[in-house]
């Protein structure tokens, strides 16, 4: 892999340079405790240290709300919205979110089944990763998502002088080559800094265990009373799934225009935690009770991604950090792993 160095004093210039490759979105502090990817206006507003953004980068590819197509009600014409997607840059993406995007790719870009909106945006996006320092909710190490080998153009790791950059794609190489005045060769000291940082980072992860058997543990615990007990506190608000980097459920509905000349089909992110998510024709609901919906999420997130040999959950910790009811996802999983179901 190619490594290069970006000195602190060149950092803002580097962000400006990225603008030449498209509109730059980067982590911003949006309130006292929340961060989110927002369009960069001033490099001074970009944060490089943040625990997690409230919305995952999936929002750039799978839009939270969109019009899918329009049908003419007089001429029965059919049209899809004209889209002119320009190249854009997402700066400051953590490894678990890059892994999240790779998981989404495996679903939305499955050969022959490409989701157009997603695929077009994915091709136009440049991803600049950044190393994260885990907080108490981050268990991406346990999910093998604390590090990525691919899925980015450039990846920044902090060192004393600034940043050590890993180059991950031909576009990444081009950015470095076209702007060589901004970059420097790495020194032995930089390498020591990098190793030191990685060591500190690895030791900061709050969890150290294996979750490779988790989907089976969940499966055999289907009837565990813990589900009923824990679901009581759940608000059914859907924050856990809305903020999850790999949740993909959506709802569609049709809306006529006010002149009744056309009708559009819209799509909005949906959540398995909403009552009507399991509602089907005939009024049946295959997840009628809150406990069904609550348990479902754990099973879904821990199911197997065949294409990547991993789980759908990347351990970003959003579902715990952004649960208004304070429900801990890993807390429940460890509880289920440890609680005896058999009484002597």
């Amino acid at each position: 892999m190619r490594y290069t160095k970006l000195r602190k004093e060149n950092f803002h210039e580097f962000l400006r340079v990225l603008e030449r490759y498209g509109k730059v979105y980067a982590p911003h502090r949006i309130s006292e405790k929340f961060y989110d990817f927002r369009e960069m206006r001033d490099p001074n507003d970009v944060v490089t240290e943040y625990p997690r953004t409230v919305m995952p980068p999936k929002k750039f590819f799978f839009e939270p709300l969109s019009e899918l197509f329009k049908v003419g009600l007089r001429d029965f014409s059919y049209s899809t919205p004209e889209e002119d997607i320009q190249p854009f840059v997402i700066f400051g993406v953590h490894a678990y979110d890059i892994k999240g995007l790779m998981i989404l790719d495996s679903v939305y870009m499955e050969p022959g089944l490409e989701e157009k909106q997603y695929a077009v945006r994915r091709q136009k996006a440049l991803i600049v990763g950044i190393s994260d320092m885990p907080d108490q909710y981050n268990f991406s190490n346990v999910r093998n998502a604390d590090w990525v080998d691919e899925g980015f153009d450039l990846f920044l790791h902090p060192i004393e002088e600034g940043w050590l950059i890993r180059v991950g794609s031909p576009t990444g190489h081009k950015i470095i080559d076209d702007n060589s005045q901004l970059f420097h060769g790495t020194t032995l000291k930089d390498i020591d800094d990098f190793k030191e940082h990685e060591k500190r980072r690895q030791l900061s992860f709050p969890m150290c265990m294996s979750l490779s058997d988790v989907r089976y543990v969940l499966e055999v615990n289907w009837n565990n009373p813990i589900w009923e007990e824990e679901a009581k506190r759940c608000l059914g608000c859907g924050n856990c799934t809305m903020t999850c980097p790999t949740c993909r459920c959506y709802e569609v509905w049709d809306e006529p225009d006010v002149e009744l000349s056309s009708a559009s089909r819209f799509r909005r992110w949906d959540s398995c935690q909403f009552h009507d998510h399991g509602l089907v024709a005939g009024g049946e609901n295959f997840r009628e009770h809150k406990v069904d919906r609550f348990r479902h999420r754990y099973n879904c997130k821990n199911s197997y991604v065949k294409a990547l040999h991993c789980d759908f959950c990347v351990g970003c910790g959003r579902c715990t950090a952004f649960c208004p009811a304070g429900i801990s996802y890993m807390g429940i999983i460890t509880h289920l792993m440890e609680a005896k179901v058999h009484e002597d």
């Binding site: 949006i30 309130s31 006292e32 405790k33 929340f34 989110d36 927002r38 409230v54 919305m55 929002k59 939270p64 709300l65 009600l73 007089r74 009581k232 506190r233 759940c234 608000l235 059914g236 608000c237 859907g238 924050n239 809305m242 903020t243 509905w253 049709d254 809306e255 006529p256 225009d257 006010v258 002149e259 009744l260 009708a263 909005r268 992110w269 949906d270 959540s271 909403f274 009552h275 009507d276 809150k290 950090a321 952004f322 208004p324 009811a325 304070g326």
Partner: protein, 261 residues
């Protein structure tokens, strides 16, 4: 394609006329809608009301507070194919229903003292479906303009409007807001309130007070109460918060959950 015009009535019981006003606020869109709609009754906009006809749809605003309200509601029901409870007063009894746990006489005396005289035979403000069958609900105080348009256009096309069954949180996250419960421990009732307002209040950094009313398909108010209790909100404030726009909601689940903490 020639379309039969829908005969529509916009009726008003006890309320502030705000829901009707928001209908008028449709402005240019209203002019387009009336191409396909005959407004037979619209108290706020005209005196030429034809109450004696049969209606395809009657929107009824306001809570049932006086005997006249009840009569009016029944009259509209008899003559209408569909009845729509328009806005929070009609859907849930409105803020004026707030003190529904005490009898009306006590409420009056508390506010106006023992010497006050009232000749109007009115009582507690009740939701519309406590006296007549309601086919559709348009939530909000007032409902959003797009709610009116969506409702009428789907009906005109011969389909029907889908009910809102997702909470305000959904739209709040989609907008990329921070969460005021997590960040400031505020008693935001977004998790149990009907969406459709695009999380207007939380988007201005203000907790949702639930003006679109509680979700009808699912009741998570007990979990909501536990969350608020965890933020050290006193029980009476939790109950007030939940009653504000839904005076008749059964809070026994909430009370039980709070007793058990």
């Amino acid at each position: 394609m020639e379309r039969r015009k829908l005969k529509v009535g916009i009726w008003a019981l006890t309320g502030c006329y705000g829901c009707q006003l928001n209908f008028v606020n449709l402005e240019d869109d209203l002019l387009k809608i009336v191409q396909n709609v005959d407004l037979e009754v619209f108290y706020m906009a005209t005196r030429a009301n034809n109450e004696e006809t049969n209606f395809d749809v009657s929107f009824i605003e306001g809570s049932v507070t006086t005997p006249e309200d009840e009569e009016e509601a029944k009259k509209a029901r008899e003559r209408s194919k569909y009845v729509v409870a328009l806005g929070n007063c009609a859907v849930n009894g409105g803020v004026q229903g707030f003190n529904s746990t005490q009898d009306f006489e006590t409420n009056i005396r508390t506010v106006y003292g023992d010497d006050a005289h009232f000749h109007l035979p009115f009582g507690l403000s009740k939701p519309l479906d406590s006296v007549i069958k309601v086919d559709f609900y348009l939530y909000g105080c007032p409902p959003e303009k797009k709610d009116y348009i969506y409702f009428l256009t789907t009906l005109l096309l011969g389909t029907w409007p889908e009910d809102w069954t997702i909470p305000v949180c959904a739209e709040c996250r989609l907008k990329g807001n921070p969460c005021v419960i997590i960040e400031r421990g505020e008693p935001c009732v977004g998790p149990i309130t009907v969406a459709g307002c695009e999380a207007r209040c939380p988007s201005h950094n203000v907790a949702c007070i639930g003006c679109r009313g509680p979700l009808k398909v699912v009741d998570n108010s007990d979990a909501m109460a536990l969350t608020f209790k965890g933020k050290e909100l006193p029980t009476d404030r939790i109950l007030d918060r939940m009653r504000l726009f839904s005076a008749y909601k059964d809070l026994s689940k909430v009370e039980e959950a709070l007793r058990n903490v």
